[in-house]
C-alpha cells in the first residue's frame, strides 16, 4: 500500500508541473469546446429566424428606405389564399412524391443488384455513387445540355431523330406543348442524382442482415420471394424509411438543381416552393416581409418532417 502511494505520487510529479497551475476543469473545457459552435449557430440561425418572424408580420421590402409597417397576419392570410403559392406547393408536392418514390424504388433495386459480390462490384458501386456527390447546379446545367432538343444526347439516346426532337425543358413534344414535361425532366435528373443515395443506405441495411437469417430461412424452406418479403424487407425497413425521409426533406428544399436547369420555367412549370420563395424575396420584388411569412410556412413543414426523420433515426440506431 505504502509503496503504491509513493509510486503514484512520483509519476504525478513527473507529468503534473506544466499543467498543475492551469489545469482546466472538465466543465470549463466542455464550455470552451461547445460554446463557440453554439454561439455561431445561434447568431446565424436562431437570431435570423426571430428577425424574420418579426419581418413576416410587416410589409418590409429590402429595397425600401422606409421603416417596416406592422401588418399582423395579413402576409400569412395573403399567402395562404394566393393561387401562386398553392401552385408552387402543388408543383413541389408532385416533385417530392414522384422523385422520392422513383428514387426509393430504383435505389432499392440497385442495392439488391449490387448486393451480391462479384468481380469489380466495389468499383462499380462507387461509380454509381458519384452523381450524388456532384454540385446540383452543375448537374442541372449539363443535363440541360443533355436535354437540348437540337444536339443533346437525350433525344438521340431515346431514339428520336432531329425532326422528332423532344424539348423536355421547354415541354415541347413534336412542337406541341406537353404540360409538366419540364417537371418530369427535372424529376428525372433528381432521380439520377439521388437514387444512389437510397442505394447506399439500403445497401448498408442489406449488408447488416446476418447470413444466418437466410440460412435459417433456407432450412425453413422459404422461397426467395418469401425470404424477400419476410426477412429482407422488414430488416432494411428502418434504413429505407430514413432514406425516404431524408430525401423528402431534401426534395422539399430543392433549389439548386431547378435553378441550374430551368430557373423555375417554362412559365412556372418547375417553380418549386424554394424557387418561388427566391423569386419573391430577391428577384426584382424584394418583398422581404411577405417572403419571410412564406419562409415560415415552409419552415414549419420542413421541421415537422425533420422531426419524423430524427425520431426514426434514433429508432434505427437503437435497433
Amino acid at each position: 500500500m505504502a509503496t503504491a502511494t509513493v509510486e503514484s505520487s512520483v509519476t504525478k510529479s513527473r507529468v503534473q508541473p506544466q499543467s498543475a497551475q492551469r489545469q482546466l476543469s472538465d466543465r470549463a473545457i466542455m464550455n470552451l469546446f461547445i460554446w463557440p459552435t453554439l454561439l455561431l449557430l445561434i447568431a446565424f440561425n436562431f437570431f435570423p429566424l426571430f428577425y424574420s418572424l418579426y419581418l413576416s408580420f410587416t410589409n418590409y421590402r429590402a429595397t425600401a428606405t422606409t421603416a417596416p409597417v406592422w401588418l399582423g397576419i395579413e402576409n400569412y392570410a395573403n399567402i395562404l389564399t394566393s393561387p401562386d403559392l398553392w401552385q408552387a406547393f402543388t408543383t413541389s408536392g408532385k416533385y417530392v412524391l414522384f422523385s422520392v418514390a422513383l428514387q426509393t424504388i430504383i435505389g432499392f433495386a440497385l442495392a439488391m443488384l449490387v448486393r451480391g459480390k462479384f468481380r469489380g462490384s466495389g468499383l462499380i458501386t462507387t461509380l454509381i455513387l458519384i452523381p450524388m456527390m456532384l454540385s446540383p447546379v452543375v448537374v442541372g446545367l449539363f443535363w440541360k445540355l443533355m436535354y437540348n432538343p437540337n444536339f443533346g444526347y437525350f433525344n438521340y439516346l431515346i431514339g428520336m431523330g432531329q425532326e422528332g426532337s423532344l424539348d423536355m425543358i421547354a415541354s415541347r413534344m413534336f412542337n406541341q406543348p406537353v404540360p409538366n414535361l419540364a417537371l418530369a425532366a427535372v424529376i428525372l435528373v433528381d432521380v439520377w442524382m439521388w437514387s444512389p443515395f437510397v442505394m447506399l443506405l439500403v445497401l448498408s441495411g442489406l449488408n447488416a442482415i446476418p447470413d444466418y437469417l437466410y440460412e435459417a430461412a433456407a432450412i425453413d424452406r422459404a422461397s426467395s420471394w418469401f425470404q424477400f418479403w419476410h426477412i429482407t424487407l422488414p430488416q432494411v425497413k428502418p434504413l429505407l424509411l430514413i432514406a425516404v425521409l431524408f430525401r423528402t426533406i431534401e426534395a422539399l428544399k430543392s433549389f439548386d438543381l431547378v435553378m441550374g436547369m430551368t430557373g423555375g420555367g417554362p412559365g412556372n412549370q418547375t417553380e418549386l416552393v424554394a424557387v418561388y420563395l427566391y423569386r419573391v424575396a430577391f428577384l426584382g420584388q424584394f418583398r422581404s416581409g411577405y417572403a419571410s411569412a412564406l419562409a415560415y410556412i415552409i419552415l414549419i413543414i420542413v421541421i415537422a418532417i425533420s422531426n419524423l426523420y430524427i425520431r426514426n433515426l434514433n429508432r434505427a440506431k437503437g435497433a
Binding site: 446565424f44 452543375v138 446545367l141 439548386d256 440506431k317
Partner: protein, 334 residues
Amino acid sequence: MASFAESGPRRPVVESIRVDKVSPGARATGAVRALIVLLVALIMLIPIYVMFATAFKTRIDVTASPPKIFFQPTLEGLVLLFTDRALAAPARVQELQQLEAQGKLNLFEQLALASGQEITGPSPYVGRIVNSLIIAGASTFLSVLLGVLAGYAFSRFNLPGKDDLLFFILSTRMLPAVVVTIPLFLMFRQVGLYDNHIGMILLYTVFNLSFSVWLMKGFFDEIPREYEEAALVDGYSRLQTFFKIVLPQSVSGIAATTVFCLIFAWNEYAFALMMTAEKARTAPPSIPSMIGRGGVEWAAIAAGSLGFLIPVVIITFALRKYLLRGVTFGAIRQ
C-alpha cells in the same frame, strides 16, 4: 447430360458457399445480375461522359447532331472559360495568317485566328474560382476545428439537455437555405458582410458546422474511453489527453470530415447566389450565368463543370469507406 442435382458442379467447390448458390441457375442469375449492374452503371455515367466530352469539343462539335461520340479533342473550352476575349483587329488577323502559313502558331493564336477573337485577359471566372478556394478552404478549416471541439465535448461529457442541443444543431442543417437567407441578407447588408469574403466564410462555416459536429461526435464515440481514462489516471490533464491521445486516433475521421465539408462548401450554390454579387461571388452561381452571355458556350460551361467534377470523383473514391456516414450525418456507420 446428367442434371446438377445428381452430379453436382463440373469443378469441385473449394470455397464456403451454400449448395443452392452453385447451381447453374444461381450462377447464371449472378452473371446476369452483374451484367445489369454494369449496364446501369454505364447508363448512369453517360451524363458525366457527355460533360467530359463536351469540355474538349470545339464549338462546332458541341452542337453537332447527332452528337459526336468520337471527335478531335481541343482545349478551346478551357481557354474560353478562363479568358476574356475581344474582336481581333484586321491587322492582327493578317499577322496571324502569316504566322499560320509559316506554321508558327501556338494554341492561343490558333484559337484567336479561328474565332476572330483575341484574348484580352483572364475571365472573371478565374477570380470566382479563387473566391471559391478561399471561402471553401477557410470555412472548412473553421467548421472542422469547431466541429472537432464540440464533437469531442458532446461525445465525452454529460451536459444537461445534450440530446436537445444535438437536435438543435442538426435541425439547423435541415432549414432550406432560402428561408434563412432573407434575414441574413438584411443583417449582412447592415453590417457590411454582404458580398464579402468574411461573411461567406462565416456563413459556410455555420452551414457545415452541424455536419462536422455530428460526424466528429460519431468518430469520437468509436474511440474507447479507456485510453483517456488510463491517461487521466497517469496524471495527464484533460486537455493533454485530448491532444495526445484522442486527436491522433481520430486523424482519419478528421480527414473524412474535412473532405466532406470541403465538397459541400465547394458545391454550395444557394447562399452564394443570394449573398454575393461580384467581389465574393464563388464559382457555382457563375457557371449558369455564362449561359446568359451571348451565344451559349457549352464547351466553356462543360469545362467549368469538369473542374467541379474531377475533385469530387477523386474524393468519392478516396472516401468510399465513409460515404454512408457522411451522407447521413454520421448517424449510420458501416
